[in-house]
Amino acid sequence: MTTSAIATPSVAKPRKQLLTPARIGVYAFLLFTSAFFLLPLYVMLVTSLKSSDEVRAAVLFAWPASPQFGNWVEAWSTACISLACDGIRGGFWNSVRLVIPATILSVFLGALNGYALSFWRSKWGDVLFAILMLGAFVPFQIMIYPLVAWFRLGGFYNTYWAILLVHCIFGMPVLTLLFRNYFVSVPQELFKAARIDGGGFWRIFLQLMLPMATPMIIVATILQITGIWNDYLFGLIFAGKDNYPMTVQLNNLVNTTFGERRYHIDMAATILTSLVPLLVYFFSGRWFVRGIAAGAVKG
């Protein structure tokens, strides 16, 4: 940019003041809120890379002299959880084994419910839906003891099937609502045309409605993956020792001490546990927003 003697301030374009008090206030607020959420993450990260001595030195925000990635390896494969010293990888695979089928099943059932409720109107459909919604508002802690009693009666308490069933059940209200609201915006005429063409309940669902509901399926899947992975209480109560998900194992790992608290290993294990939901959000976050928007405005 060249300047000349003629370019006086009076010729220059008037510019708005960048740093107004209001703007400073907004940025300060945003910085503060971000810090509130990011600082613990930072501390976690930093601590997980420290050596034992640096942890004992207890300088919270200090970056480690040399990052010890071995901590993560130790948390994964050799850290001690009560008597077994196999690291938290067992919990990881338990969670994976749980989350994938539970997500698929609950999303499928939620979509099926939403589809049945919006297209195949029956007298009791609306009553059922109201009861389901009521269930969504009841705190789930209330239902734990009855569920434990029933599962024990049924003989499958503390098994894989118990925890799978629990996650499916508790996903029903939200997912049914999600899909029902989505399908309500699909014109009835589409359904009628399919019926004239001879489509029955399942064919219309599988070949027509489900493909159409792709944005909602993505939203529901993201919700379920993160929700089920992050769950602690149900995993603790219903899964049984052999099926403890990663969250439960993490808690056990943190509580297993032989005298000293190994914060760096604990932090490493925590990071490993939260990695899956974090990655899901990072990579599919925009699909989530798109899906919600698509459900709201049918194009």
């Binding site: 014109p187 005429e189 589409l190 009628k192 045309a193 399919a194 019926r195 004239i196 063409d197 001879g198 489509g199 064919r203 070949q207 027509l208 493909p211 159409m212």
Partner: protein, 361 residues
């Protein structure tokens, strides 16, 4: 190809008796238009014939089959909706062949039927496209094609052209008429546009509040409406109606209204009309405007508005009692707003209704 018979049909929806003892006979191969204002029950009747609404009482027969309780897919029907209702995740070819694939029709047969329908509707180049990549007119053609491939006995149309712009509407209207001429299948068509009814129908059934007011050919309905409602529903601008007395004197029948008189002797059966309190109706095109000087019957009015349409003009007159009269003139006629002008009627084409019952006499 089959006739459709609706016998004593009662439909109750949400506590409302939409159709009461509806009787309708659609002849084999005809194009029947159900015409009426919104809420008159025409869509309900169509959807009952299709099988989407449960029947409270009565029977529906397609051909010789009683389909009152049959599933829509077992009624041998094809249906075209106002919003096209195309399957958005499938391309045109799969949209059209969906029904056939469900019915497990052999692949070769599916291909030939789809090809035939596509060529009839000029869709051959569009078979691989998705509905979102088609224009409104193309989408509607695909919807028609989807109904066509089913080789149905009856085609049902639920206001299929209402979502299209005016030019496309008239284009597709002509194509539909040609299709009917080609296929000679029974077609039932619902609309509230009288132009569509007049141009497409073999017969029109005018409906009001769940009751068929009149059913007949477009010519019959237009020129010989059975009641005031039908008379007012068809024709644009609307038929001019006036209350007044009918005088019978020495073989001459005269209508005396508050603003003019009309000699109705050439009206069919004029001498035998018993009532004297009547409503008389003249369509705007049956009114002749003459200039003030050559009036022979003393009827005159003041021009209040002229609407030029291109091939014609609509002239609105204010009569001596304040009522309005509309007349259609050709382009040769010239006049100015404010001029007083006289008029007379083509009485043979008038309509006379009993003032109390509003029925034609």
């Amino acid at each position: 190809m089959a006739q459709v018979n609706v016998k004593d049909l009662d439909i109750v929806l949400g506590g409302n008796n939409i159709l009461k003892s509806m009787n309708l006979e659609v002849r084999d191969g005809e194009f029947l238009v159900l015409l009426g204002p919104s809420g008159c029950g025409k869509s309900t009747l169509l959807h009952s014939i299709a099988g989407f609404i449960d029947v409270t009482e009565g029977q529906i027969l397609i051909g010789d089959k009683d389909v009152t309780w049959a599933d829509p897919k077992d009624r041998d029907i094809g249906m075209v909706f106002q919003s096209y209702a195309l399957y958005p995740t499938m391309n045109v070819e799969r949209n059209m062949s969906f029904g056939l694939r469900v019915a497990r029709v052999p692949k070769a047969e599916i291909e030939s039927r789809v090809e035939r329908a596509a060529s009839m509707l000029h869709l051959t180049d569009l078979l691989k496209r998705r509905p979102s990549q088609l224009s409104g007119g193309q989408r509607q053609r695909v919807a028609i094609g989807r109904a066509l491939v089913r080789d149905a006995k009856v085609f049902l149309f639920d206001e299929p052209l209402s979502n299209l712009d005016a030019k496309l509407r008239s284009e597709l209207r002509r194509e539909l008429k040609q299709l009917h001429q080609q296929l000679e299948t029974t077609m039932i068509y619902v609309t509230h546009y009288q132009v569509e009814a007049m141009t497409l129908a073999t017969r029109i059934a005018v409906m009001k509040a769940g009751v068929i007011q009149q059913i007949g050919s477009p010519d019959e309905i237009y020129n010989y409406p059975t009641n005031l409602f039908v008379a007012g529903f068809l024709g644009a601008p609307t038929m001019n109606t006036f209350r007044g007395k009918l005088l019978q004197d020495n073989g001459q029948t005269t209508f005396v209204g508050p603003a003019f008189m009309a000699n109705l002797s050439s009206y069919p059966n004029a001498k035998n009309i018993q009532t004297s309190e009547v409503i008389v109706g003249f369509r705007p095109e049956n009114i002749n405007l003459t200039d003030g000087k050559t009036s022979t019957n003393g009827n005159s009015g003041r021009i209040s508005l002229i609407e030029p349409l291109g091939p014609q003009n609509i002239v609105w007159l204010t009569l001596t009692d304040g009522s309005t009269l509309s007349a259609v003139t050709d382009t040769q006629w010239h006049g100015k707003v404010g001029e007083t002008i006289s008029f007379d009627f083509d009485s043979a084409r008038a309509s006379v209704f009993d003032a109390k019952t509003e029925q034609r006499v």
